[in-house]
């Protein structure tokens, strides 16, 4: 690491030598690959596999920047990879924008970009282009990232809400709410620590396993707003009723405890390494087996019915309650 400063200064954004050092020694040294060339205005992408080119983009402003199980760097890779994965695509390339606050510790930035690089390597994606801006002290809250991802989906794969039918089954690939609960505790506003870890991870393996199964209709990752929000989006888009079984939804013991203590509903807390899938009835068993091969906590959690469009939770005691659409975000800045 040739950067001699310990903190980011405005000179790291001025287009001169400091900026070149920041980009080459901190970013490119960690993220480097055969496509990334910091002397060029644009990256030339080697030929992609046959299929439909799929693109997505997301901004990341999580606070705190580091939390048990990840940081804003790994999250910015997983978040964008997962949006591609649930669309049925295999992610190949990312671009990165960084807005960095003057005064940010360079050692912190190194940890963020290390985690980003590791997450990208683990998922075999390359960061092929980037841009950094340094903002005056007081702006940008440390770091904001934006990542744009490119992937390829088979021409033959047709997924989406319009394919969902009454009778279809709903699955989740693991416990829900872990990321939201971990970030909540990491804020230390409540004066206690826990052993909660974010589930931030790629869902590509789970998504690809499901894509092999005829009868897969739709996938989505339950990030901001959690499982309850994905369920409400499904009800609104399909005009069907989403019926969930409370006792089937996997929630880890520590997440359940923290939520009870602090008054949060884990069904509205973000996951960052899970997917929700809708499959035809006859494909449900095969889909569950496929998901359990990637995570033993995967569960069949509900179905869609011809009743009026809303989300109904069937409780363990045989009762029913409606899971309303979120009006107020219970936990801002979680991604």
């Amino acid at each position: 690491m040739a950067l001699k400063e310990t903190h980011i200064t405005l000179a790291h954004g001025n287009g001169g030598r400091f900026m070149r050092e920041l980009i080459d020694d901190l970013f490119a040294a960690r993220l480097g690959n055969t496509v990334l060339d910091t002397s060029l205005d644009a990256a030339s992408i080697p030929s992609l596999p046959a299929g439909v080119l799929v693109v997505t983009t997301d901004g990341f402003t999580v606070q705190p920047l580091e939390f048990p199980g990840g940081n804003i760097g790994s999250l910015a890779v997983h978040g964008t990879i997962n949006d591609l994965a649930v669309s049925g695509a295999v992610p190949h390339y990312l671009t990165l924008n960084a807005f960095i606050e003057e005064g940010t510790e360079i050692a912190l930035l190194e940890r963020l970009i290390d985690a980003m690089a590791q997450a990208a390597r683990d998922s075999q994606v390359s960061v092929v282009a980037g841009d950094t801006k340094v903002m005056p002290r007081g702006q940008a809250d440390g770091v904001y990232f934006a990542t744009t991802g490119f992937g390829v989906r088979p021409h033959t794969l047709e997924l989406g809400m319009p394919h969902v039918r009454a009778g279809d089954r709903i699955l989740v690939s693991g416990t829900v709410g872990d990321h939201g609960a971990a970030v909540l505790l990491a804020r230390e506003e409540f004066g206690f620590h826990g052993d909660l870890r974010s589930d931030s991870a790629s869902v590509l393996d789970a998504a690809q396993a499901l894509c092999k199964i005829p009868g897969l209709r739709f996938m989505r990752d339950p990030t901001r707003g959690g499982l309850a929000t994905v369920a409400n989006e499904m009800a609104r888009a399909t005009s069907l009723c989403v019926r969930l079984q409370e006792d089937a939804i996997p929630i880890s013991e520590p997440v359940q405890s923290v939520c009870e203590l602090l008054g949060y509903d884990p069904l509205y807390l973000a996951s960052e390494g899970r997917l929700v899938a809708v499959v035809a009835t006859e494909a449900a068993d095969q889909a569950l087996v496929a998901l359990r091969n990637t995570n033993t906590e995967a569960r069949l959690i509900g179905e869609l019915t011809d009743e009026p469009a809303q989300v109904i939770m069937q409780t363990e005691l045989g009762g029913e309650r409606v899971l309303e659409e979120l009006e107020e975000d219970p936990l801002p800045r979680i991604c």
Copy 2:
């Protein structure tokens, strides 16, 4: 416009109804196209023309957000389009990230996105995916944008600094420094106004005209750091001497006056609608004609020689001075 509020609130970023209205009524209503679907996590791109896929990304934090000749919305389109254009590609699609400060006037945002949409239409590019984040008051300085662009370059086109040879000629597609000078005046720190307009525009026509000419070696848009910075990058990358003719470099009268008055050198001020090109000696005349067809101010401004790598300005009186690499940015936040 169905948005009932007049200013952005944190609720516009919370994932609920307000956010859906912001995205659908403000962004999608203006930027909408057949690919953009705000209900999906990722956009499927219709088949692209044959060639090399080229990708670039850039962040925009200009202050003020609006200036004569453009705003941060049009700039965010032109900046990314131009990075693709000077790489020899035709831009096709953009993605957009917006980081918006709580309290920002919605009418201002509408003007920014209107200008963005107009710039995209003018260049026949579509915004196919986006993400918005609302940041607490005091952060993000109104608005930051990041745009990622992708386009296609012919397989047969090989451009870049490694192709540059001693004897090659240097051209510029129009007057330099207009954007930097216009933003400078728009800041009103100097207590006077002028009739300067930013040159913010697409350089695609000029770039495509040059791409037809055998002997084209390299193009770049002289944004932050201006013409002098592009010249220094060329000297450093090629280990050649860049010789520029002072009396050949087109600078508008108002830009020259403002720079003399305020002590700026227009050669270090950004253009946002110009390109610098290097061509083989024998292609220089044809390249100049091609550029003049797009802008009568286009000029042949210098050449590369086998002397030691630096940038030498030959003055009108026959003298020489070295144009040094920028250490301090004379004018931050211009793009």
